[in-house]
């Protein structure tokens, strides 16, 4: 049972983060500058955990977002799992806590999800002929906002109460050095 408590805490925190993101996105964000807080949280944890746990974290984050969004849950789960699958091998070889690497990955992840979701929605329920899918122009603003927030808040988000058991204090290199 104790194994599930950190995931429950993760679900609670990520739901609150997505609620904040939704509040910011609802007509308050200038120029579509809406950070993907799920990606920031996921990369923060993925930097200090193994691939299997990173995937479970991605699943919880995606379902939390699905609870608040009109986007298709399967598209959301696929998007965050893909970020986790890409981040895990990078975290095993490079230090994802380096600010610029973290910002770069966050920008790529946030931007890709911002492009993927409108694309998936258009394929699922095609817009009437002649209507251009919207959202395609939001890739850059979301990527930029996600990168900035990842620089500033990634470590703080993973340090939220209850999330400690999901990640370890040492980075990959410290772990490798200790093993030697």
């Amino acid at each position: 049972m104790r194994r599930f408590v950190p995931y429950l805490c993760l679900a609670l925190w990520s739901t609150w983060l997505f609620a904040l993101q939704g509040w910011w996105a609802a007509g308050r964000a200038p120029g579509g500058l809406v950070p993907d807080l799920g990606v920031v949280l996921l990369l923060g944890i993925a930097a200090r955990t193994d691939g299997a746990r990173a995937r479970r974290v991605a699943l919880v984050i995606a379902l939390s977002r699905a609870a608040l969004s009109a986007d298709n849950p399967a598209a959301l789960v696929l998007a965050y799992l893909a970020v986790a699958l890409i981040a895990a091998p990078i975290a095993a070889t490079l230090d994802l806590d380096r600010p610029w690497l973290r910002a770069l990955l966050a920008a790529l992840g946030g931007g890709a999800i911002a492009l993927w979701l409108p694309f998936a929605a258009d394929l699922r329920a095609p817009l009437p002929a002649g209507v251009e899918p919207s959202g395609g122009s939001l890739g850059w603003p979301v990527a930029l906002a996600t990168a900035v927030v990842a620089l500033a808040l990634s470590k703080a988000l993973r340090a939220l109460p209850g999330l400690g058991p999901l990640w370890r204090e040492e980075g990959s290199w410290e772990l490798a050095a200790r093993g030697r």
């Binding site: 609150w16 609620a19 986007d71 399967a74 699922r124 959202g135």
Partner: protein, 473 residues
């Protein structure tokens, strides 16, 4: 790092599910996600953040609802009146029964579900018209639900006898009209659709015939016992198809998106004594359930949605109208047992039918704009934008030939199950003149944030009499 084949398989399945919807799997996923909806409700303080600043506006909205409802009711009354035929020879000897189009039948786009103001005297085969245009005939009278089904003349099996008339009223030819003939798909917009014409009495067509009026004139009472009632009603203009001998009729109504109200013709004497009372305004029907929005917005910046705390258990269904006061704020997108998602007016792809009351043209009846498709909000102003396919464009007036647009008050039009007519949408500037098939982009000027300050929303339940009726896929 090795990724297990099981994970890859899961990704593949998710990809398929994300791109190819499957109703059963999606339903199962909704049930699995049920608990997460409750989890989401704990975020309600964030939703209130956006409401505190304008709490006072709630009272103003409720107060203005009465005025908006009265204005919408007056507009609907004028709209129903506008659907009545005027020409004395088309009214004489007929009883007129107005009806509201509820939506399309599950059988396809070519059958309408109609709620007539009265079922008295209605029977299968009676013609249905919009003003002076013939659109089809009654296929079924459902006295239990209080509705009739109308087979449109666009149906594959539909046909009606017709005459081609010269300008002076002389008969040029006879033919049978029914079904559709489609043209090529333009670069933008939907394919142009005509009514198909068959079995012409003459084949020596003169170029002067094209554009001539085609009117109903059924010669065989054994095929259409009520054909005489529809005689003289228009079908459209005679048109040439892709080749010689390919004749078509360019319709005078938009069969796809332009049917909101109609008139059923029954045998009778005169119009005035037989016209029944209009139905109550949709907001006065006991079909609205209060709901609370517990999110402040959608985490996806390109979407506009809100989660509600009511769902299937409260009688709500996909497509239901959601109002604040008398103003439509959106339609239900997804509905689970205990919750639902409102797609707000700015959510891209949201579709609805609209009526427009043009400012400065008090003598004109309201215009049916047909289908509006949401394009999201304008990045600068935040106003919801819509694509309006101007199948029937708004023309310039003699008084103001130089203005490019006209201000209009928009309300919903009937034609979609769950979305009744007469709900206030907002004010918009409508471009004058035809867009040439591409459609015009319009903005709702006074709907930047219709939800801000809202404590309660009201969602329209399924009318118990209409439960089980679904539109075409």
């Amino acid at each position: 790092m090795r990724v297990r084949p099981l994970v890859l398989l899961a990704l593949l399945c998710l990809g398929l599910l994300a791109l190819r919807p499957d109703a059963r799997l999606e339903g199962a996923l909704e049930r699995v996600l049920g608990p997460s909806r409750y989890l989401a409700q704990v975020t309600w303080p964030i939703a209130r953040l956006g409401r505190v600043e304008l709490r006072a506006s709630e009272a103003a909205v409720v107060a203005s609802a009465t005025g908006s409802r009265a204005a919408s009711a007056a507009l609907l009354e004028r709209w129903y009146a506008a659907a009545l035929p005027r020409a004395p020879d088309l009214v004489e000897g007929r009883r007129l029964v107005p009806g509201e189009v509820l939506g399309r039948s599950a059988g396809g786009r070519d059958q309408l579900l109609v709620r007539p103001w009265s079922l008295e005297g209605l029977s299968v085969g009676l013609p249905a018209v919009v003003r002076e245009a013939y659109i089809g005939r009654i296929a079924e009278v459902d006295t239990v639900r209080g509705i009739v089904r109308v087979d449109l003349v666009t149906g594959r099996e539909s046909h009606v006898g017709a005459r081609v008339l010269a300008l002076d009223g002389a008969e040029l030819a006879r033919l049978v009209v029914g079904g559709v003939a489609t043209g090529g798909r333009p670069a933008r917009g939907e394919p142009v659709t005509w009514l198909a014409a068959h079995h012409p009495s003459r084949t020596d067509v003169d170029d002067a015939w094209f554009g001539a009026r085609v009117v109903v004139d059924e010669l065989l009472p054994e095929l259409d016992p009520f054909g005489k009632l529809a005689a003289g009603y228009g079908l459209g203009a005679f048109a040439r198809g892709a080749s010689d001998g390919d004749w078509r009729v360019e319709p005078i109504v938009d069969f796809l998106h332009g049917l909101s109200s109609l008139v059923l013709l029954a045998p009778g004497t005169t119009r005035a004594p037989a016209l029944p009372d209009a139905p109550p305004h949709p907001l006065e029907e006991p079909l609205w359930v209060a709901a609370r929005g517990f999110t402040a917005g959608d985490p996806s910046p390109w979407r506009a949605s809100v989660k509600l705390d009511r769902g299937l258990d409260s009688g709500l269904r996909v497509g239901a109208a959601v109002v604040r006061g008398a103003r439509l704020v959106g339609r239900l997108g997804a509905v689970s047992a205990s919750g639902s998602t409102v797609r707000l007016l700015a959510d891209p792809g949201l579709e609805l039918s609209a009526l427009a009351e043009l400012e400065g043209r008090p003598t004109e009846p309201p215009r049916l704009l047909g289908r509006l498709v949401a394009l999201g909000s304008d990045p600068q102003s935040g106003r919801p934008r819509f694509l309006w396919r101007d199948v029937l464009a708004i023309e310039h007036t003699q008084a103001a030939t130089d203005s490019a647009s006209v201000r209009a008050r928009l309300t919903t039009a009937a034609g979609d199950l769950g979305l009744p007519a007469g709900l206030y949408l907002g004010v918009a500037m409508l471009p004058l003149g035809s867009s040439g098939g591409a459609g015009h982009v319009i903005e709702l000027e006074d709907a930047e944030d219709a939800l801000r300050g809202a404590e309660r929303l009201f969602v329209r339940q399924v009318d118990p009499r209409l439960a089980g009726l679904e539109g075409p896929p």
